[in-house]
C-alpha cells in the first residue's frame, strides 16, 4: 500500500499514462542493454552495484530509489535490496538513496564498485509517507490529524523472531497494550488500544487485512481448563506481512463506523514488484522454549496431620528424586518459502509457511500450514486490480491449565493427599502430570480462507474510486477430548469420568464485506486543494455454531461422540449485518495546512428496534509549521502540529436487544421454552468521543519524536447489568447508561545516537499512559465480575480490585487470627472487619506501558539488538496464592501461622470467599528483557556460495529476564474466562487473575534467511 517518493510516483504515473511511455522506456532499456556490452569490452566499467539494507535489522530494503547526485540516472532496488546503475557517468560520484520511512543517505563511491552496501536508518517522522485511513486512496501523514502507529513487520520479524502477530505488535506501538494469556504454544494475546474505554463490550480493535474486515476473536477454543487461548489475529503468518498500521481511537476511526471505537489494526501484506526475474526467498527458523527456574518459582506446600505433625511437599524436589522432569524444553520450527516478481503489467507474491511447535508439556503442540498469494494487475492505465487469497490450516493442541494441568497439580498439591491417596503422589486435584497428559486433549482444528478483490479506477485525472469485495471464512473445530482413562489411573476418576468424554464446539464464521469509496480532488485555487470522499460499507457476519457432547466411551481409543454412550447436541446460527455510509471533505492549503471534516452513518441489526441509526462526526487539522516561510528553528527539521476530534461507536452483541426465550426439553420431554435474555429495545451502540492533539517532529536530523495527548469519553456506555433474578430472567441486560473517561499520553522517539561508516547506534523508545474511570454507572452501586474481587464502581477504574483490607489483627495461642480490623473506607477509621466495606485496591489496566530498544550495527553486516518492555501500575489477583492459602490451606501460613504477619494470617484464614483478600492482590508491574538478538548478514560473495543473493542469520533470545516485585508465578499470565457456551467471551481479558496458567516462556530462536 505504500507509495514511493514523489519523483518516482510521477515518473511511474507518466509511464503508465501513455502507451508510448512504456514503449519508449522499453526501447531505451533495450538500447542500453545492447550498447552496454561493447562498452564493457572496451573500457573499465563505470557501473555501480550493491545492496541497500536497514541499518537496524540488516534486512534488504525493497523499492529504494538509488541515483547519482545531480543526475537523472537512478534505479529502484529489488526485493533483495539490490541495485545496479549501469553507468554512473564519472569515475567518482555521490550516490543518493531515498526511501519512504527511512532517512536519505548519500555516499561517495568509485565507478566500478560492485559490492556497495548502504544501510538506511528508519525515521519515525515522514510526512510524505502514505498510510491507510479508510478512504479511497492512502493519505499522506502530513494531512492526518491523529497518530497512526506503523510497524515495519518484515524488518521487525527478522530481528525479534516473534512467533506470531500479537507479539509482533507488542512493545512497538505507543499506547497499544498487548496482554498474553499463557505461555503455551499456540496461545494468543489480547490487544487494548489506549487502555479500556468500554465496560462490558469486547475491547479488541477491528482487524483489516488489505482493506478487508476479518474476524479478530480472542480466546477461541474449547472452554475446558485453559483450552480457549487461540487468537484469530495469529492466523496471519508474520512472514507475509509488509507492515501493520494501527489507528488508535474514535478520532481516527470515525469513518470505520459503528464497531471502530476500540481502534483499527490494518495489516498490509507483502506484494510483488516488477523485476527482471523471479525472486525466491527462504526462511528457516528453529527454536526452543523453556520454563525458567521452576524450582525457584514453584512453592512448597504443607499439611498438618491429625497428630499435629507438619509435613511438606514440593513437586519439583519429589520428581527430581524420581528422575522425572515435569517440564521439558519445547521446540519451535518454521519454514517459509516465497517467490515474487512480475512485469509492469502484473506482479505477484506467493508464499507458504509451515509451523510446527511443541510446548513444554506433551499435550501442547501445533502444526500449521498457511499459503498466501497476492496478484496485482494493471490492465489499463486507469485501472489496477489486486487479488489476494490466503489460506491457513492446522491444529493447535493447547493442553490444559487452570484446575486440571501439571501446573495446577504442582501448585495445589498436598502432603496429606500424598499420604491419603498415594496414587496421586500428592498432586493437587488428584492428578499427576502424566495422567493429565494421557487423558486431556484440548484442541482446535482450523481452516481459514481469506480473499479479497480490489478494483482501483481512475476514470479522470481528478476522480478515483475503489471497490473492495472481501470474504473471510473461518472454520473451527474445538474439542475437549478426555480419553478413556488407562486402567492404572482409573481410581483417580469417577467411573463415568474414567470412561472419557468429548465436548465438541464447531464454529464457522463467514465474514462478507463490500466497500466502495470515491475521492474527487480539485485545485480550488493555486494553493487550496480539495479532496472530497464518499463511501459505503456493507458487512455481514454469519456464525454457524454446533455443539456435540458425548460421555462414556466403551473402550480405549475412541474419540468421537458417535462412540459415546450418552450423547447430546445442538446447533445454531447467528447473523449480524452492518450498513454504513460516510462523506469526508479535506482542504489542503499549500500542502502545509489541512482541515478535514467527515460524517458517518451506520445501522446494524443488533441495534434495538426503537433505535434507528448512529451518526458519527469528525474534524481534524494539521499544520506542517516547519515548512512555513517564517520557520527559523533550523535544528528542528520537521514539525507537524496535529489535532483531531471524532466520534465512533461500539455495537452491542447480537440478540442483546431482543427479549427472547430459549426452546428446551420440558416436563414429560415435551417442547417448552424458558426465559433466556431480558433484552432492551432501546439498545444502541456505545459512542466513543475522542480529542487528540500532538506533534510529529524531527530534530538535528537524528531525533524523531511523536507526541500525543488523547482524551476519550465513552457515552451511552453499554453496561452488562445483571438482571435481578426476581424479574424472571437469568443473566444480564445490556443497557446504555454508563459513561467512561479515559485519557493519556503517548510518545515515541528514535535517536540515531551514533552514525559512523562502520558503526551505528540507534535508540528507539515508546511510552503510553492511560487512566480510565467510570464516570457514571447509571445509579447502579456496583457490578461484580468474576473473580468477585473485581468490580465496576462509579468514580473508579473499569473492573478494579475491591476487597476488605485488613489493617490489624492478632493471633491467639492456637494461631487463629482475631481482633480483625479492616480499612473503614475513605476518611473512615479502621473498624471490625465484619462491618467494614470493601475498598478500592487498584486497577487492572497498566497505567503506563512502553519499551526501549537499542540497536548496534557493525560494518553494516552485524546487528546487535535488545528490547526491554514494561507495564506499570496494574494489579492482578494471584489466584494461585489465594487457592493455596485461603481455599486449599496448603501454605505454610496455614500450619505455622505464628511465622507470619497476623494480617496475612487473617487473609489466609478468612479469605476463602474472596471478601477479605487484600493480601492476594499484588502489583503486577514488570520490565522484561523481551528480545535480544544478533543478526549477521553474510557478505554477498559468501552468500553466492549458496547460490543466494542474500543470506542472513539471526540468533534471538526472547523473554530472558524479568524485573518485577511480583512474587507470584507470572505477572503477565491470565486465566481467560469463557463465559458463553460456544462463543468466545465478550471480554475475556477483563478478568485479571492467574490460576495455574503456564507462565511466559523463555525462548532461543535461530533464523536463516536466504534470497535467491
Amino acid at each position: 500500500m505504500r507509495q514511493e517518493t514523489g519523483q518516482i510516483r510521477a515518473r511511474t504515473a507518466s509511464a503508465l499514462a501513455s502507451p508510448r511511455g512504456w514503449c519508449s522506456t522499453a526501447i531505451t532499456a533495450l538500447l542500453l542493454v545492447a550498447s552496454a556490452t561493447p562498452l564493457l569490452a572496451q573500457q573499465p566499467s563505470r557501473a555501480v552495484s550493491g545492496t541497500v539494507v536497514s541499518a537496524a535489522t540488516l534486512t534488504p530494503i525493497q523499492g529504494a530509489d538509488v541515483r547519482v547526485q545531480g543526475s537523472e540516472t537512478g534505479v529502484l532496488t529489488d526485493v533483495s535490496g539490490r541495485f545496479r546503475i549501469a553507468d554512473v557517468g564519472a569515475d567518482q560520484v555521490t550516490i543518493v538513496v531515498r526511501r519512504i520511512r527511512f532517512q536519505p543517505i548519500t555516499q561517495t563511491v568509485r565507478a566500478g564498485t560492485t559490492d556497495l552496501r548502504l544501510a538506511m536508518t528508519e525515521a519515525t517522522v515522514q510526512l510524505d509517507e502514505v498510510v491507510v485511513t479508510g478512504t479511497t486512496v492512502g493519505t499522506q501523514q502530513r494531512s492526518i490529524g491523529n497518530s497512526v502507529a506503523s510497524i515495519s513487520a518484515a524488518q521487525e520479524l527478522e530481528r525479534s523472531a516473534v512467533p506470531d502477530v500479537g507479539n509482533l505488535i507488542n512493545a512497538r506501538a505507543a499506547g497499544v497494550i498487548v496482554t498474553s494469556g499463557s505461555g503455551r504454544a499456540g496461545s494468543g494475546t489480547g490487544i487494548a488500544i489506549r487502555g479500556r474505554s468500554t465496560i462490558s463490550l469486547n475491547q479488541q480493535p477491528l482487524l483489516y487485512i488489505d482493506g478487508v474486515r476479518v474476524a479478530n476473536d480472542v480466546a477461541t477454543g474449547t472452554r475446558a481448563q485453559g483450552g480457549a487461548g487461540v487468537a484469530r489475529l495469529n492466523d496471519i503468518a508474520p512472514e507475509d506481512i509488509e507492515s501493520i498500521e494501527i489507528i488508535k481511537g474514535p478520532a481516527a476511526a470515525t469513518i470505520y463506523g459503528t464497531e471502530a471505537s476500540n481502534g483499527v489494526i490494518q495489516v498490509i501484506t507483502k506484494r510483488g514488484r516488477a523485476s527482471d526475474k523471479a525472486r525466491w526467498g527462504l526462511s528457516l527458523r528453529q527454536g526452543t522454549s523453556w520454563f525458567q527456574d521452576p524450582e525457584g518459582r514453584l512453592p512448597t506446600n504443607y499439611g498438618k496431620t491429625a497428630t499435629g505433625e507438619i509435613l511438606s511437599w514440593n513437586a519439583m524436589e519429589m520428581e527430581k528424586a524420581r528422575g522425572f522432569d515435569i517440564w521439558k524444553n519445547g521446540r519451535m520450527q518454521s519454514y517459509t518459502g516465497s517467490v515474487s516478481g512480475g512485469t509492469n503489467l502484473a506482479q505477484y507474491y506467493v508464499s507458504s509457511t509451515y509451523d510446527t511447535d511443541k510446548g513444554i508439556e506433551p499435550n501442547n503442540y501445533l502444526d500449521r500450514f498457511s499459503g498466501n498469494a497476492n496478484i496485482n494487475m494493471t490492465p489499463s492505465p486507469k485501472i489496477d486490480v489486486n487479488a489476494r487469497v490466503g489460506y491457513v490450516t492446522g491444529t493447535t493442541h493447547l493442553g490444559s491449565d487452570y484446575g486440571l494441568g501439571a501446573m495446577a497439580g504442582t501448585l495445589y498439591g498436598s502432603p496429606l493427599l500424598a499420604q491419603a491417596v498415594p496414587l496421586t503422589r500428592g498432586y493437587g486435584f488428584n492428578v499427576p502430570p502424566e495422567v493429565v497428559w494421557a487423558v486431556v486433549d484440548n484442541s482446535q482444528e482450523l481452516n481459514r480462507f481469506t480473499g479479497s478483490l480490489t478494483f482501483n479506477h481512475r476514470p479522470t485525472s481528478w476522480f478515483t474510486q475503489r471497490f473492495i469485495a472481501g470474504l473471510d471464512q473461518t472454520s473451527e473445530d474445538n474439542q475437549n477430548l478426555n480419553n478413556f482413562v488407562p486402567t492404572q489411573w482409573k481410581p483417580l476418576f469417577s467411573p463415568s469420568a474414567a470412561k472419557g468424554s468429548l465436548l465438541q464446539d464447531t464454529r464457522a464464521i463467514t465474514y462478507a464485506s463490500g466497500d466502495y469509496s470515491g475521492t474527487a480532488k480539485f485545485n480550488l485555487t493555486s494553493g487550496l486543494v480539495s479532496n472530497t470522499s464518499i463511501g459505503g460499507q456493507y458487512y455481514r457476519k454469519k456464525t454457524r455454531l454446533g455443539q456435540v457432547t458425548g460421555r462414556e466411551f466403551p473402550a480405549p481409543g475412541l474419540k468421537t461422540a458417535a462412540a459415546a454412550a450418552i450423547r447430546d447436541g445442538q446447533q445454531d446460527f447467528i447473523v449480524n449485518t452492518t450498513i454504513g455510509l460516510y462523506a469526508q471533505e479535506q482542504l489542503g492549503w499549500n500542502d502545509r495546512l489541512f482541515l478535514t471534516g467527515a460524517v458517518r452513518v451506520d445501522n446494524n441489526s443488533a441495534f434495538g428496534e426503537d433505535f434507528d441509526f448512529a451518526t458519527y462526526p469528525k474534524v481534524a487539522a494539521t499544520w506542517v509549521i516547519s515548512e512555513e516561510p517564517f520557520w527559523k528553528l533550523g535544528f528542528i527539521n520537521t514539525l507537524k502540529l496535529r489535532s483531531a476530534y471524532g466520534v465512533s461507536g461500539l455495537q452491542p452483541d447480537v440478540f442483546t436487544a431482543l427479549r427472547t426465550f430459549q426452546p428446551i426439553t420440558g416436563t414429560g420431554d415435551q417442547a417448552a421454552v424458558t426465559p433466556q435474555l431480558i433484552g432492551n429495545p432501546d439498545l444502541k451502540p456505545e459512542r466513543g468521543t475522542e480529542l487528540e492533539v500532538g506533534f510529529d517532529a524531527m530534530a538535528f536530523n537524528r531525533l524523531s519524536l511523536e507526541f500525543t495527548y488523547f482524551n476519550k469519553k465513552t457515552k451511552d456506555a453499554i453496561l452488562l447489568r445483571p438482571v435481578a433474578p426476581s424479574l424472571g430472567f437469568p443473566g444480564s441486560q445490556y443497557v446504555n447508561i454508563g459513561e467512561v473517561s479515559n485519557h493519556g499520553l503517548e510518545a515515541r522517539a528514535t535517536l540515531q545516537a551514533l552514525t559512523r561508516d562502520n558503526f551505528s547506534w540507534e535508540i528507539t523508545g515508546n511510552v503510553g499512559t492511560t487512566k480510565d474511570k467510570i464516570e457514571n454507572l447509571g445509579g447502579i452501586p456496583f457490578i461484580s465480575l468474576f473473580p468477585p474481587v473485581q468490580r465496576h464502581v462509579q468514580g473508579y477504574p473499569i473492573g478494579g480490585f475491591w476487597a476488605k483490607r485488613v489493617t490489624s489483627a492478632t493471633l491467639d495461642a492456637n494461631g487463629k487470627a482475631q481482633d480483625l480490623q479492616c480499612d473503614g473506607g475513605p476518611g473512615a477509621a479502621p473498624m471490625p472487619c465484619a462491618a467494614a466495606p470493601v475498598v478500592f485496591l487498584g486497577t487492572i489496566t497498566p497505567k503506563a506501558t512502553g519499551a526501549v530498544a537499542n540497536t548496534f550495527t557493525f560494518w553494516k553486516q552485524l546487528s546487535l539488538y535488545a528490547l526491554v518492555d514494561f507495564k506499570n501500575g496494574n494489579k492482578i489477583l494471584d489466584a494461585n496464592e489465594y487457592a493455596r492459602c485461603a481455599a486449599l490451606s496448603v501454605c505454610e501460613v496455614n500450619v505455622r501461622p505464628e511465622k507470619y504477619d497476623p494480617r496475612y494470617v487473617a487473609n489466609a484464614q478468612n479469605g476463602s470467599s474472596l471478601v477479605i483478600a487484600d493480601e492476594f492482590i499484588h502489583d503486577a508491574s514488570f520490565a522484561m528483557l523481551r528480545e535480544v538478538s544478533a543478526t549477521y548478514s553474510l557478505p554477498e560473495k559468501y552468500a553466492r556460495y549458496a547460490r543466494a543473493t542474500r543470506a542472513s542469520f539471526t540468533l534471538a533470545g526472547r523473554n530472558l529476564h524479568r524485573w518485577t516485585g511480583f512474587k507470584g508465578l507470572d505477572p503477565e499470565s491470565r486465566s481467560l474466562l469463557t463465559t458463553s457456551s460456544i462463543t468466545p467471551a465478550a471480554n475475556p481479558f477483563q478478568s485479571t487473575f492467574d490460576q495455574a496458567v503456564t507462565p511466559t516462556l523463555a525462548q532461543f530462536i535461530a533464523t536463516l534467511n536466504l534470497t535467491f
Partner: protein, 439 residues
Amino acid sequence: MRITQKWGSTPVASRSRGWRYAYIALFAGTLGACDQITSLDQEAPSRVLANDLYKPENAQLLVTSTISDFECALAQYIVATGLVGDELIDAQLSQAGWDYDRRTIVPSLAAYSTGLCTSTQVPGYYTPISIARATADKILTALEGWTDEEVPNRQALIAQAAAYAGYSLVLLGESSCSAALDGGPELTPEQVLTEAEARFTKAIDAAQAANNTDILNMARVGRARVRVDLKKFAEAKADAESVPLEYVHNATYSAANARRENLVQTQLYRGLFSSVDPSFRNLTVEGVADTRVNVIDAGVNGQDGQTPIWRATKYPTIDTPIPIASGDEAILLVAEADLDAGDVTGAVDAINALRNKASLPTYGGGTADEVKAQLIEERRRELFLEGQRINDIIRFNIPQSPDAGTPFPLKGGLYGNQICFPLPDVERNNNPTLNGKSS
C-alpha cells in the same frame, strides 16, 4: 420473414435499448437479492421472541414451560439445600461448590445466586427458583386476562400455573433469609410464604372449577405445608386431611439432556459430586433397616478422590421422578397440627400410618416433646432428599453438624454457621426497588 426484417432493420440505438432493459432487469433483480442479504432485521432462528410468545394460543406451551422450569429448579434446590443442611456432603473438586457444604455462603457468591438450571456439578439456587416463580406468575396473570373462548381448559391451566407458582414460593420462603418478587421490596420468609398461600388458594379454586383432582390435591398439600410454616395449624390440617394417603404428584425427569436429569441422581451416581451425609446412613427402626432411607456404600470415592460415595437408592436412575406433594407429606402435616393442638395420639397414629405403609415397626408414642422429636425424625426419613429438610432445620432449630469453626475436611477452610440463604447481591444491587439498599 417479417420478424427477421424487423430484427435486421432494428437501429443500433433500439438494440441498445433492449440490452438496457435487460441490464435494468438484472440490476433490479440484484437489488431484490441484495435486499435479502442487506436486511437489518435480526434473525433469531433458535430463539423465541417474547412478542410472539404471550398469546392465548400458546397458553398450554407456557404452562408446560413453567412446570419445566420448576422441575429443574426443584432438583437444583434439593441438592443445594441438602448440602447446606445435613442430607448431603460435598465430594467435588470445584471449589465453587464447597461453600454450600461448608455453610459459608455470602451474598456475592455466584453459584447460589446466578447458577442456572443447566448446572450439573455446582447447583444453582436463587435464579432457577426465581425464574420458575416468575414464569408461573406471568402466565397465571395472562391466563386470568384471557377468556375461556380464547384458551380451552383455561381453569385447569390457571390451577396448574398457580400451584407451581405456590411451590416456587414455598421453596423460596422456607430456605431464604429474605427474598424479592418481581423487582419488589425485600420480603421476609413469612411474607413470601403468605404469597405462596395465596397462590395455592387460587389453585384450589381453579382446580375445583376445572374438576382437576390432581392439581387440587397438589395445591392442598402445598397450602397445608405453607400454613404449617405460618403456624396456621388448624387450617393446615383441614387441607392435609382431605388428601388421600396414596396421592403423589411428581416432578418428572429424563435422560433427554442435562437440564432434564434428576440432579440428585447425577450427583450421587454419575458425577460423584456429592455423597449422602453419614447421619443418613444405615438408619434403622428398632433394628429393622429403614427402607425409606436406603443408602448404600458405592465403594468409590467422589470426584475429589477422597470422599467415599454413599448413594440414596431412592433415585436409582437419571429419570426417577421426585415427589413434589404427596399423601405421606400430608399425613405428617396432620401429625404436626395434631401435636400443636395437643393431640399426641393423633400424631402417633399419623406416624404409624406411614410406618405401616413402609412395613416398619410401630411407634409406641411418648410425651408431647418426645413425639414431636420423633415426628421430626420421621419427617427427615420420610421426606429424605425431597427438599424439606432445610425448612425443618431452620424452624426446629436443629443443631448443625459439624460445629461452626470445625475445619472443612480435605479441602480447607472452616465450617460456617450459614443456614438460610441470604438475599444475593445480584438481587439487592439490581432490583429497581432495593437499588443496593438493605431493607
